[in-house]
């Protein structure tokens, strides 16, 4: 693929912003690590060697009988009985964190929430679940939720803004007034009310938030299109007989994307924050799901266990800061006044 000179210039500008450049890599590294959460934090072994055969409990389910046990149900690898059965005829490789986000550690020496120790590196929450495991899974779900929401709301927002700006006139006027009314709705209360009517799942919550988040890009894209529709090359395309949809997507949109792209990291940030605040209030993801907001809520409820609140805060603060730094670098990169 060959890059056009403006793209190359932008990449150079992006790299020149060291903070944003490194933030992007750190964030990507964290994200990739969290995508592999199952092999990092899991209550099943990565690899089991038993009686001359290999088993991959992370990927497959094996009954207890496979390891010489009694029950035909799936083996519980945290059971000392099962562990001793396996170690007699082989060995076990555990993930670095032998807990999943919902694994309850029943062998805590102190009542939950337990402070950080060698078994639970960051301690446990008030139900005896490993905090680090929950953080990894929680980070992943936050970012995935944020990315999906950003993507979907961008697609809708860009199309809405494009139609508004391109056609202008009455279309624009009516659309704009409707958006003003819609955005006047108290978003958080509506989300709370709706979330109390239906048991929220990941996709439900996404849909609810999408109802409001699509508007964030409309104004920018609309402005870009209002400007672009009077460009000579758009006029030329119209004179050639190019259809409206094609003008919008082939001619104007690629040129309007610059303004749109600079907003994306900030929208991602906003999406994550909204999800976290809903989780914090208890109206977010279903109970038991790992989430940063839920960890913060636990921290607030258990002030005697400061490791909950502090880690929750730090993870959130680092993640949001990284994204803001990336956003700043992207904005700089697309700044037309920065030519070198």
């Amino acid at each position: 693929m060959t890059l056009t000179p403006p793209t190359r210039r932008r990449l150079r500008n992006f790299r020149a912003n060291r903070r944003g450049f490194w933030s992007l890599w750190i964030f990507l590294a964290l994200f990739v690590v969290s995508l592999c959460a199952e092999v990092i934090a899991n209550d099943r072994p990565l690899l089991v060697r038993y009686a001359g055969a290999f088993y991959l409990p992370v990927l497959r389910e094996y009954p207890e009988t496979a390891f010489g046990g009694i029950f035909p149900t799936e083996a519980n690898y945290r059971d000392p009985q099962v562990i001793s059965l396996i170690t007699q005829k082989g060995w076990i490789i555990w993930p670095p964190i032998p807990y999943r986000y919902d694994t309850i550690n029943y062998n805590l020496p102190v009542p939950a929430p337990a402070p950080p120790s060698t078994t639970n590196w960051l301690g446990t929450d008030d139900q005896g679940r490993d905090l680090l495991a929950r953080l990894i899974y929680g980070f992943r779900i936050s970012v995935l939720f944020g990315l999906t929401l950003t993507l979907l709301s961008s697609v809708i927002g860009v199309i809405a803004g494009a139609v508004q700006g391109y056609f202008g006139g009455w279309t624009d006027l009516i659309f704009q007034r409707s958006i003003e009314m819609w955005s006047g709705l108290p978003e958080l209360y509506l989300l709370i009310i709706l979330a109390s009517l239906v048991e929220p799942t990941f996709w439900w919550l996404l849909g609810l938030m999408l109802l409001f988040s699509w508007m964030s890009l409309v104004a920018v894209v609309r402005a870009e299109f209002l400007r672009a529709r009077n460009f000579d090359y758009v006029r030329a395309a119209r004179a050639l007989g190019v259809g409206n949809a094609e003008i919008i997507f082939r001619h104007v949109l690629p040129n309007a994307m610059v303004a749109t792209l600079t907003f994306l990291p900030f929208i991602l940030n906003g999406s994550i924050t909204t999800l976290t605040s809903l989780d914090f209030l208890g109206f977010g993801l279903p109970p038991g799901s790992p989430s940063l907001g839920e960890i913060l809520a636990q921290g607030k409820a258990n002030l005697q266990a400061p490791w909950l609140g502090i880690t929750g805060f730090l993870v959130l603060a680092v993640m949001l800061s990284l994204l803001v730094f990336v956003g700043e670098a992207v904005r700089d990169a697309f700044d037309p006044r920065k030519t070198s």
Binding site: R235, A237, G241
Partner: protein, 337 residues
């Protein structure tokens, strides 16, 4: 070749809303025609409505009133779908060469676009056609993968021309095609336009205030002032002896290379009035040295006062007759270097 009317514009009106129920009367009743293979110049200063006329003809903006007959069909009321089928036959060239090319598209795709929309053609055939057209504007296949900013203004304008002629149109509206170019490049583009016209039998509507360019390319001239055509005639006759007072002022404003030449400049008093509040009669009333009371009462019709010369002036016949007897037409025609 000549004689058949390709485009016939009758009483074209375009008003733009200016708020408070007022309108900018950019074009107020313009009629002219272009024959097959003919180049008509639409000349006037900025704000005279000449660009608006061009855009109305291609329906890039909707005319307020009037009819536009192109190839025997009324374009002014045609639905967009049918109009799109007609678009390959009428094309446009824009003033700013760089602005009229999408900065994110390589030249190959820019020139291919009208061909792709027009006929069903295999991608290979289309590419052949693109190269052929690029050759015609004296660019080659080497330009295909380059982007607009990699070209000089003159080359960009030639790409614009390539795009405009790619569908073998009959009419090309040239909207000030050379005013954004350097003088050296200007001649080259004008030559290319004349060559292409002869080769392809194109008709041009040449919108310009560049009188030298007009002289070089066009067969006939129509002079516009404040939304009205004030005079039409063949280029040679018009430059030799403009009959309307505004044409006289406009044509005598051309600079001569010889500083010692005494100019019989014909100067109009005052400023151009606002197109929102046009005077009731002749738009030139108040600036014109020939004006009488009748001029402020009604707008004069275009009248044929000499063979092939139509002038919208109550006083033109009389004043011009007096003029020729008094001083003769010893003026050097403007724009002839």
């Amino acid at each position: 070749m000549m004689g058949e009317r390709l485009l016939d514009v009758r009483d074209l009106v375009k008003h733009f809303p200016a708020g408070h129920r007022r309108f900018v009367k950019a074009v107020s009743g313009v009629s002219f025609h272009i024959e097959k293979g003919e180049a008509l110049a639409l000349v006037g200063e900025s704000g005279s409505g000449k660009t608006t006329v061009g855009r109305c003809i291609l329906r890039l903006i909707e005319p307020t009133a009037g009819t536009i007959i192109f190839r025997g069909q009324d374009v002014s009321t045609m639905e967009q779908d049918r109009l799109r089928a007609l678009r390959p036959h009428m094309q446009m060239l824009f003033q700013e060469p760089y602005d009229s090319l999408n900065p994110r598209m390589p030249i190959g795709r820019i020139v291919e676009e009208p061909i792709r929309l027009g006929k069903d053609m295999s991608p290979r055939k289309r590419l052949e056609r693109v190269v052929e057209v690029l050759d015609m504007v004296r660019l080659g296949s080497w330009a295909l993968d380059k982007y607009p900013h990699q070209f000089s203004a003159g080359e960009q304008q030639r790409i614009g021309i390539a795009r405009a002629i790619a569908t073998e149109p009959e009419l090309v509206v040239l909207d000030e095609p050379t005013s954004a170019l350097d003088v050296s490049v200007r001649a080259e583009i004008l030559d290319l336009l004349t060559d292409l016209q002869e080769q392809l039998g194109l008709s041009y509507l040449f919108i310009s205030h560049d009188l030298t360019a007009v002289r070089r390319v066009c067969h006939r001239v129509a002079i516009m002032y404040l939304g009205k055509i004030v005079e039409t005639g063949s280029t040679a006759e018009m430059f030799e002896q403009p009959l309307h007072p505004y044409s006289r002022a406009l044509l005598s404003s051309v600079l001569y290379p010889d500083p010692h030449e005494q100019l019989s400049r014909f100067v109009l008093a005052g400023e151009i009035p606002s197109p929102i509040d046009l005077p009731p009669g002749c738009h030139l009333y108040g600036r014109c040295p020939w004006a009488v009371d009748a001029c402020n009462a009604a707008y004069p019709d275009l009248e044929e006062i000499l063979p092939g010369r139509r002038v919208a002036c109550f006083r033109a016949r009389e004043e011009n007759a007096a003029d020729t007897t008094a001083s003769g037409s010893g003026r050097r025609p403007p724009g002839s270097f």
